[in-house]
Subunit: 196 residues, 2 copies
């Protein structure tokens, strides 16, 4: 089972080392992890002429299409929300109808994080606005409702916990991977059962 490993992990000081570490954990649970920096099996010749960012983007889209599920690192990145590149990829996989899983090394909910990071003033009961007058989402979710709901609606899942070193610790990731492995194994057995 191929699983795309979405996340801002590509921006870490040693992204290849990180990719290898994530894949080792995937393998432990019967999954083949696909990291954004991997070279796709097939690259159309025409892509070689593209500017680097477009080439990278098309490779990542191709990786996602080649995978059975997506696991996203939702640890807040430069603000209260997950990295937008990661979120783009979650939306992409959601539209393909395949399961999307998320993990975050922060347990505080989205509303709490937003209020802490950008500040908020009350505007009626249970309504808070930031300095630009923009409403804060207050549903007790992990991030914007499109993200949390995609995990639920796709039959995926969400795993969060506070850790001491949010960009190093992979224990929450492994909890997530174990769940994905279990879930995809059930599907595989179900399909086998249909065959016999």
């Amino acid at each position: 089972m191929r699983v795309y490993l979405a996340g801002p992990d590509v921006f870490l000081p040693d992204p290849h080392g990180r990719g290898a570490a994530l894949k080792t954990i995937c393998a432990r649970h019967g999954l083949a992890g696909v990291f954004p920096l991997d070279t796709p099996d097939h690259i159309p010749e025409a892509w070689r002429a593209l500017p680097l960012p477009q080439f990278i983007a098309l490779c990542n889209e191709s990786h996602i299409r080649s995978c059975d599920a997506l696991i996203a690192n939702l640890t807040p990145f430069r603000g209260p929300s997950a990295d937008v590149g990661t979120v783009f990829e979650i939306g992409f996989m959601r539209a393909l109808g395949r399961p999307v899983f998320g993990w975050s090394n922060t347990a505080a909910d989205f509303f709490t994080r937003t209020r802490m990071e950008v500040g908020a003033t009350p505007d009626g009961p249970d309504r808070w606005r930031d300095r630009s007058g923009m409403l804060l989402e207050d549903f007790g979710l992990t991030d914007n409702l499109m993200i949390d709901s995609a995990m639920l609606a796709s039959g995926g899942g969400l795993f969060t916990a506070d850790v001491a070193a949010p960009w190093d610790d992979l224990s929450v990731f492994e909890t997530c991977v174990a769940a994905v492995g279990g879930r995809l194994e059930i599907e595989r057995k179900g399909k086998q059962a249909l065959l016999f």
Copy 2:
């Protein structure tokens, strides 16, 4: 031609007024704007039992699937990047293979904004890292490369300019809408030409 109007505009103090204003501009250019707060034509009975955030998310996904194109408000939201709910929807529409357009009321590129907002220190030639050691993207793009590239690869487009009131001014939006209207009109004529 139906166009989904993705953006953090739903968080403004008068979201329904904003939706109406966006739709008026769309109509001026021959487009039917679909705003996230609109009620979908068909809502499955089972959705009524869902918690509100999941219900909203499924309605938005349904809206996107019903549209011919997507126009995203990419004006930076609570950080250097666009609103993550908007970015999720861009990824969703990109996977459907339909054109995605974006507009932003900020002209500064993603690298410049990120460096200004989170700070950055040099790490070799043309490489900058934030305080967590995470690399900054430096491609001169409007936002994360997945977002800019989706606009290009889908045959959409990107429109940015600095304006005095980023959450009020709709002139950049109208420039974008005019381009979408023209583009979809060309497609319509092309399809008609194939019929005769």
